[in-house]
Symmetry: C2
Subunit: 482 residues, 2 copies
């Protein structure tokens, strides 16, 4: 990825200069990255994008060209430009590992450092985390709908720009896709690449049969033929069978066919019957054409005979929910390591932030299933097995006592004093971790439609801190002390 | 932009090798880029992304690292790898200028060259053109809703990755936005950058008033204050008025306030009254918070007093229509400059392509208003003013005779023999051109909801060619000659 230091909103830079002018350059701040609502009205999200955030932070440095441009805006003074010239990230970052199942209000990334530097990071971190988390989650839903069948991601041509195609392919792989059509994503991230053929291939030859034979000659052991250029059942499948039998007779394995239009249920059942009758029982049928989790679920329920799915536009753009509303909110400010919790009020109760330096604790039962998460203050301790009563922070009468539990803290140290202190896992391992993580949740939470809400409560200490700060601010508003 | 040579679908490369193996490497092909449906159920789209396509083509070259990676896939033979090592684009490209109003089935870009090279280009061209055209169109709709008020694009944090933020800011500017918050887009494309302040700025200070005063000290002549951190009307606006009056007393111009939550109609009317009563009639009110063209239209209709709009997520992700379904379809194939028209059939009538090497002719009346477009064969001539009867290609009885017209061909030469033959206009000039172009269309076509459908017909010659090819293919399917 190219250097993204300038990938920020102008107001981050003006506020940075403001902090400098007002002598706040040593003031420290803690910011949380979190989202308020699960996408797709689903039951969970998969965190992704941390590797790109790390790369961004490690490359953070303003070039002389950047400074020349900023000076040309006539907004910034020379002291500030000088500070930028020497700018490096010197703070601490904690984050949940990529592939972790996450829920609303949980801090996915926690940034602690000088306000001068933490302010700058907001925009790029959100950009990277919002998009990859969204696509990883979408892909995970598509995988659930495909129920064990393989899914190829091939949305590059409709992705929202090159990065969306590349990072989207990465996130889709984290979410469980087996491969991408995107060669650059394959090269950069080691994602398996796959593909079949386009209608234009067929059209370039005098006949469909000749087109198929030419492709079989070129790729005798990975020959997957696109059968719907003229008529799938009248011409495509019969021609594919001819070529498939020729390949098998020559000792090759005929891979199968792809259907890219029409009624996938009907066509795939007929094609399966024709292939089987011809003795090509091992040839697979790939289905594509504007698919998403709902269509795959429906087509499967109707008895389609499809062995692998190609999913493009709807996955790579997350069409039914094209943005994740992740935010970056101040949780505490202070100096020399002493922090004061802060919150932002709002008429909208879900927009009131959680104050203080926080962590996420996940509680597992003895069978290893996730029972609940608690957003707690960093220094709180939960003794494993000691009964703990948790309560919903809005409907506080909804209580549940956990006993006999194991705990796990989700945030891990990523940067300390500006230096990276963790290894970045391999992408394949992130995919495996994501699947195993998801396995710890009950099916009710993972259901595609109307899922059960997983419990995410605030610890008693955090809840009380929040109430107390809200009371103080409301008093100050009434007394016009702001 | 980084080198995007590898930004392609794997099947483009396998098909290229197939063409090489089958001796088709000198076969030539013409591909059209077009979309079938207007986004947003709107009446027009604004073409964008050509400059990025040009940059992509000019940088097309496989590095040794790329070749090492491709070899590692165990799909490609050494002849093919050698061809890639020497790969350069050597063909012709024609395109409509960026900012041109365009309609379904019109070839926005026409690529002519060896099938070996034209095949490779499909994915990256579609990726770039689909996204920028989508966002330019969306921005143009937002501008229409704002009806002359200024619009700032500030969606970077929710954009689908870094490129989506950067190229989206560029496209939004083409569509009419005045500025972007995205500093990198500003640096790279010379787009004016703008910004105000974040809630975290207010929260960092002991009180809102102190936060406002600190900002005013830093930016006395561009002080725009965010007033909804605690309570817009009880605290934000009164504090902003205090600071505004102090600035004005010191001889500065107080810029105004931003409302980022709550009922923008009510809050802006009250804030306007309070500012006016305080004598701050020149202070502007900026409105933001999950806006799009529909919300802006509604809020304005309710009498909101908003002078400028900040539009983020919904614009940069084109939330209600997050992909443009642009395709790249074979229109002709041949050798040594002799081409045969080709089409792709489909059960779905709108998926049948238009064959042959084509151009777009726009017909203007004497007042300069656009009357209709004709997709025609490249060698057709339409004598200005000589009465011409055009007809709808589906409802062929819908006829209209044009008289007294001027014509303009929309496709212009961009590459000839692999060399660029046109200048790329400045971004500011593209914005101006887009606005003037749009001015040639009747308001009925540009209406945000239920627009009148602009006439785009096929020329008689093209229509007849298409009918004849369809008949032949259907006969071949029946005779199983494919």
């Amino acid at each position: 990825m190219e250097n993204l230091t300038m990938l920020t909103d102008l107001y981050q830079l003006t506020m940075m200069q403001g902090h400098l002018v007002n002598g706040y350059q040593h003031k420290e701040a803690v910011f949380d990255v979190f989202f308020r609502t699960l996408p797709f009205q689903g039951g969970y999200a998969l965190a992704a994008g941390l590797e790109q955030v790390v790369e961004y932070i490690e490359n953070l440095t303003f070039s002389e060209e950047n400074l020349v441009y900023l000076r040309s805006l006539n907004l910034f003074n020379e002291d500030f430009i000088e500070e930028l010239r020497n700018f490096r990230f010197t703070g601490d970052i904690d984050a949940v590992p990529e592939g972790t199942s996450v829920f609303p209000f949980e801090p996915l990334i926690r940034v602690k450092g000088r306000i001068f530097e933490t302010q700058l990071l907001e925009t790029a971190i959100l950009n990277l985390v919002n998009f990859e988390t969204l696509i990883a989650t979408k892909a995970s839903r598509v995988m659930a709908a495909a129920d064990g069948a393989s899914v190829m991601e091939f949305g590059l041509r409709r992705a929202q720009g090159p990065d969306a195609g590349i990072l989207g392919a990465r996130a889709a792989f984290i979410g469980g896709c087996q491969s991408t059509s995107n060669v650059l994503a394959g090269e950069r991230y080691g994602i398996p690449v796959s593909g079949t053929q386009a209608h234009s291939w067929i059209q370039c030859f005098p006949s469909e049969l000749e087109a198929f034979r030419a492709f079989a000659r070129t790729f005798p052991d990975s020959c997957l033929l696109l059968v719907d250029t003229y008529s799938a059942l009248e011409s495509g499948v019969p021609n594919a069978i001819k070529v498939g039998l020729e390949l098998e007779a020559e000792g090759h394995h005929f891979q199968g066919i792809r259907l890219d239009s029409g009624d996938l249920t009907y066509l795939s059942r007929e094609a399966r019957r024709m292939l089987d009758e011809a003795g090509l029982k091992n040839a697979i049928i790939v289905g594509s054409n504007d698919l998403d989790e709902e269509t795959i679920f429906a087509v499967r329920a109707q008895g389609a005979k499809i062995d692998a799915w190609g999913v493009g536009t709807h996955l790579i753009t997350s069409k039914d929910s094209p943005s994740l509303g992740g935010v970056y909110k101040l949780a505490a400010e202070g100096e020399q390591g002493v922090f004061h919790p802060r919150l932002k009020v709002s008429e909208n109760i879900s927009k009131i932030t959680n104050p203080g330096i926080k962590k996420i604790v996940r509680f597992y039962d003895q069978a290893g299933k996730s029972m609940a998460d608690l957003i707690a203050l960093e220094d709180e301790v939960f003794v494993e097995g000691k009964p703990l009563t948790i309560f919903d922070p809005i409907q506080t009468w909804k209580r549940k006592t956990l006993t006999n539990f194991r705990t796990r803290e989700l945030l891990i140290p990523v940067f300390r004093g500006g230096k990276r202190v963790c290894e970045l896992p391999k992408l394949k391992d992130i995919q495996t971790y994501a699947r195993k993580e998801l396995d710890t949740f009950w099916d009710e939470v993972k259901r595609l439609t109307n899922p059960h809400r997983y419990i995410v409560d605030l610890s008693t200490n955090l809840f009380e801190l929040k109430q107390q700060l809200l009371l103080t601010i409301h008093k100050d508003i009434k007394a016009s002390k702001l």
